[in-house]
Amino acid sequence: MTPSAAWDIALCKLLRHSDTHFALDVRFTSAAQRVVLHGPSGAGKTQTLRMIAGITAPDAGRVAVAGRVLCDTSAALALSPQQRRLAYMFQDYALFPHLTVRQNIAFALSAGWRNPSRTAQDPRVDHWLRSFRLQAHASHYPHQISGGQRQRTALARALVTQPAALLLDEPFAALDKPLRQSLRHELKELQAELQLPLLLITHDEDDIACLAEEVVYLEAGHVTGLPLHQVQALDSPLATTD
């Protein structure tokens, strides 16, 4: 089930912010199923994740996830985000505010020009509503539910597509501490159950301790600092960051 290299990433892009330009040059390969992208703010973590998902295009690079090449600028190959079949969870979840929890989860299941109806039943949607304990909120809108429920709705919305891998941008940042702890374990169990490669961005060292098989430390657009392949079974916080 585990491919030889779950992640094979090499990405270059010149990032232009209002005042600074900096060159992002991120390269890492990893056979680990759960990789954490770590580093100070502005290091280019989210940009890296967006390029892996195909939301932004790199200037040059190659992305292979779970044995599938998704982008290779030297071969003029760049799959669209639609074709990549990667689940991407945004930091603030990006749930569709005009759709209910059920419609959000069912969103990817109807391919046409119309959104799934409020009452449509689908066993795949019911499965995720049940396993994330969201049944009671199925007809609520995103602004009517709690942060933890939003996070699980976003996760369910992505998982229902049976993605090839999970990309999570600070999945717990918007939540309070006790909730983080339980959702972290939930995510770990879920990953073990689905055997999906998982790449997540975090600032939180507890996330690393719980979830990381391998840590990629990013600083000013480059992979630096912490050596790879060394972060198994972590029980103390890592190097100090922001």
């Binding site: 990667l86 005009h98 959104n115 995103p142």
Partner: protein, 224 residues
Amino acid sequence: MDAAWIALTLSLKVAGWATAINLLLGVGVGYALARWRFPGRDLVDAVLTLPMVMPPTVLGYYLLVVIGSQGVVGAWLLEHFGIRLIFTWQAAVIAATIVSFPLVFKAARAAFETVDPQLEEAARTLGIRELAVFFRVSLPLAWRGILAGLLLAFARALGEFGATLMVAGSIAGKTQTLSIAVYEAVQAGQDDTANFLVAITSITCIAVLLSAGRLVPGRVLTRG
């Protein structure tokens, strides 16, 4: 009073067509300006806003230059299809469309700019094709703002006078819209007709504005 009803129906027909055309054009242009960054974007926006600030007679003159029988497009249409646009109700539609276009595209651009691009990106990562992303995410979230702009544009098209008079003239029962009929009635000293026409125009405009007021985003959708 039959003439008044004919004028009202014609006005509604012209304003309805102008609004329908602007729904397509204004939403398309508004979306493009909200989402694509290209050099000269501000200039394009300014030029497209011109009809809102220029005197309608100036617009009417430009239109004559373009679609008049001697005009660039007008001469071509006449030569190849035998179509003479000037002094038809279709010319009135063109005038009303241009005059009310800025109201639609401005409202559409502003409405699309309030839609978080992340939501569109999320839809893409979920495998939804580009056009479907527009119809399932962008448009529903911007719809109220666009609708408010469309109603204002409808009201503006209904009241259009200057440009319409220049390109469509004032042919009773054919191109004489409500606002032109008012002018003619006053000129001819037909006070009863004028009063009646003014009353229907006012009622129609108030009704449109009231509906627009209800649609201006009062319920702000919070992001999930």
